[in-house]
């Protein structure tokens, strides 16, 4: 390949990457965050800068890992060119007839984990709680941010608005609880029961404990907010049913540390995102892709 083509391939991919990062940063920096209850705005700004850096690291790590796949045999051109071609093919695929099958494979095997259910009901439940909770929390986050900061949707802002009570309070607690239960099952299985098939090395332990700390941190923060009657936590607190339980064991005086607790939770969440591509948690991205590939590209070997 000529130098021109070599550069063009790389430029194309990295410009696209940069565009995604810039777009994400612009959105993060442009939002007003009027409903973030943290008093110390410097904490908020620190968090915003950190989340941009962490998402950048996450994207970079993911891109690097995917480019490593592209170094294998089976495709032509530079890894960057191969990836661009596959992305273009993926876009075309979104409008192809097989999209229905792709969605069905994704739902049944990557989300519902049908094969794991056949093997072990406990592990299936554990995985489903963690994965389902994680995805649902992410989706809720997007919905809430969009309706709060862009739409200024009043029922999501008012203390007794239906959306505030059922989405921001109840649904977030429910998805958090799902993750918490799943992670507790995983922790008990890995550190207490220790079945023969489980192999625990430092990265495995770190992944579980890190996510557990993030989720628990969220509930502790909510408990502090409710106990200290921070704005947004002054009425109808029973909708935040898990945070409410935490508030019962939290002295009201700790409300002075709400900002610090908020920052710690934010920093841990951001670092967790950055950690994903460099840990076993990268399977959250690679496994669904592998399942799709298996479902769509694998040879039909039926003997008939």
């Amino acid at each position: 390949m000529s130098d021109g083509g070599y550069l063009r391939d790389r430029m194309g991919l990295y410009l696209l990457f940069l565009a995604v990062v810039v777009l994400f940063s612009a959105i993060v920096l442009a939002l007003p965050y009027e409903t973030v209850y943290v008093q110390e705005r410097a904490y908020l700004h620190f968090f915003l800068v950190l989340i941009i850096i962490c998402v950048f690291v996450f994207l970079l790590g993911t891109l690097y890992n995917v480019l490593l796949w592209m170094r294998g045999k089976g495709l032509r051109g530079t890894p960057e060119r191969r990836l661009l071609q596959l992305m273009a093919r993926g876009l075309r695929f979104a409008f192809a007839k097989r999209l229905g099958r792709a969605v069905s494979v994704f739902t049944k095997d990557a989300l519902y984990l049908a094969k794991l259910k056949e093997r072990s009901a406990t592990r299936w439940l554990m995985h489903l709680l963690i994965l389902g909770g994680f995805i649902a929390t992410f989706v809720l986050d997007l919905i809430v941010t969009f309706s709060l900061d862009l739409l200024r949707y009043q029922p999501m802002i008012e203390e007794d608005g239906w959306a505030k009570l059922w989405i921001r309070d109840f649904a977030f607690d429910l998805t958090g609880l799902m993750m918490l239960l799943g992670l507790l099952i995983a922790a008990v299985r890995r550190f207490v029961l220790k079945p023969k098939i489980v192999r625990t090395e430092l990265p495995d332990a770190v992944s579980i404990l890190f996510l557990l700390a993030v989720v628990l941190g969220g509930f502790i923060l909510e408990g502090i907010g409710i106990a200290g009657e921070i704005p947004g936590h002054r009425m109808n607190n029973e909708y935040s049913f898990v945070g409410y339980v935490f508030s019962l064991i939290t002295p009201a005086s700790v409300d002075q540390y709400y900002d610090q607790a908020w920052l710690i939770h934010g920093v841990m969440s951001a670092l967790f995102i950055a950690y994903i591509p460099f840990s076993k948690l990268f399977h959250m991205i690679a496994t669904p892709i592998a399942i799709e590939v298996d479902g769509l590209l694998s040879k039909e070997v039926s003997a008939s």
Partner: protein, 407 residues
């Protein structure tokens, strides 16, 4: 410093290494890593994590920023040896919750090891030499390949496929053609086809190894030569159907040959063909064979090709024969231990695994253990003898021949 060449790993394989959740589901059911011996590195998870660790040391982000790290030669050799202790039975593919196509991964891993100068293992090198020199892995002269047919040349009309171009080409395979203890498999197959008046022939001494042994051990270059040669012969013979009695040949011709060239004929295993003959009443298994029989699913037929029901239908069609299933059957069947070059390089390990399978068969209370693959047959028969088992090991075509023709 040895720099691993990861361009020999498939794009999909590299993705799958990252997709492994290291859940360990594959470790207990792995016949070589989990059942016959408890060695993590032999298990699918062990191999995946180790190879991933190795290539990330040289190509991961840290390596990119700080420079690649050397991988000690003894660690590479250990991984190589362990990678060849796998029979590529595909049990791990069946149980993997992440849907990883481990069969492709192991074959590609071996190709990678060969390309990086770490393999083949010495016992496999001998096979390569034999195939290169004699067109078979058994160091037997080419002129002896069709000798098995001499015994029945008066009873059965076996055509010269290259000159007479019969409708059906029977691809005998090296083991049935050369191994004196397995030859009856070819003879019974030919007699059954003859009884059903099938217009069939063989490539005689021209037939070459299908290339399965080479492909399963990662030796793609010599395998390609064999495949091309056989495809050329298939073109000359131009049959409408190619029948194999070896599960390994069946998998290779059906799945691997199309990657090299076009095979115009329909490729079927003898169990499919005989089942069709019985269904169409061209073959009638009329004589009673009073016994309880259990069927061992060869990996290359079952998990690799999803062919489970035809052999069972045949056995059920034989009067007097009662089919009893082993606890682990069909997709969950335990491997016989011989595949993937294990019997050649690690005969003791292969024997341990085949003993476990014979134990499975004994538990059914069957009188006969049968299968439809010469390699499985050979391996299980050895285990039956070694264990002093009361089971009789019979090839499925022998049962069909007894019922359709007689003793």
């Amino acid at each position: 410093m040895r720099r691993l060449d990861i361009s020999k790993l498939d794009v999909l394989a590299l993705m799958r290494y990252d997709a492994c959740t290291s859940c360990g589901e594959c470790t207990t059911s792995c016949p070589t890593g989990g059942e016959a011996q408890d060695v993590e590195l032999v298990t699918p998870r062990g191999k995946i994590l180790r190879l991933r660790e190795f290539y990330k040391r040289q190509y991961g982000l840290r390596a990119r920023l700080l420079g690649p790290k050397e991988i000690p030669e003894d660690q590479l050799k250990e991984l190589t040896s362990r990678a060849y202790e796998c029979t590529i039975c595909g049990q791990c593919k069946t149980v993997c919750p992440a849907h990883l196509d481990t069969i492709e991964m192991w074959e590609n891993m071996r190709e990678f090891l060969v390309a990086n100068g770490l393999a083949p293992l010495p016992p496999h090198e001998q096979i390569v030499k034999s195939i290169e020199n004699y067109d078979n892995p058994w160091m037997q002269p080419r002129t002896q390949r069709a000798r098995w047919s001499k015994r029945i040349e008066k009873d059965v009309r076996i055509r010269d496929a290259l000159r007479e171009r019969p409708e059906v080409l029977y691809f005998v395979g090296c083991t049935a053609a050369y191994d004196p203890n397995i030859r009856d498999m070819a003879i019974d197959t030919a007699r059954v086809l003859g009884k059903a008046n099938v217009d069939f022939g063989t490539l005689g001494n021209e037939e070459g190894c299908c290339g399965s042994t080479l492909l399963r051990t990662g030796l793609l270059v010599p395998a390609r030569r064999m495949v091309e040669k056989n495809i050329e012969l298939f073109e000359k013979a131009s049959p409408s159907t190619i029948v194999t009695s070896c599960a390994g040949c069946y998998k290779t011709i059906r799945q691997d040959y199309p990657k090299v060239g076009r095979v115009g004929a329909r490729i079927v295993h003898i169990s499919q063909h005989v089942n069709e003959l019985i269904d169409s009443r061209k073959l009638v298994p009329a004589k009673k064979v009073e016994a309880r029989v259990t069927f061992h699913d060869p990996c290359h037929l079952g998990r690799h090709n999803k062919l489970y029901e035809e052999p069972r239908k045949i056995l059920e069609a034989i009067p007097g024969l009662k089919l009893v299933e082993m606890e682990r059957n069909r997709e969950d069947a335990r491997c016989c231990g011989a595949g993937g070059g294990v019997k050649t390089a690690f005969p003791d390990l292969a024997q341990k695994i085949s003993a476990l399978r014979v134990e499975d068969a004994e538990k059914t209370g069957a009188d006969i253990l049968t299968t439809s693959c010469p390699f499985c047959y050979q391996s299980l028969k050895d285990a039956v003898v070694a264990r002093g088992s009361r089971l009789r090991m019979l090839d499925m075509m022998e049962l069909v021949r007894r019922s359709a023709i007689g003793d």
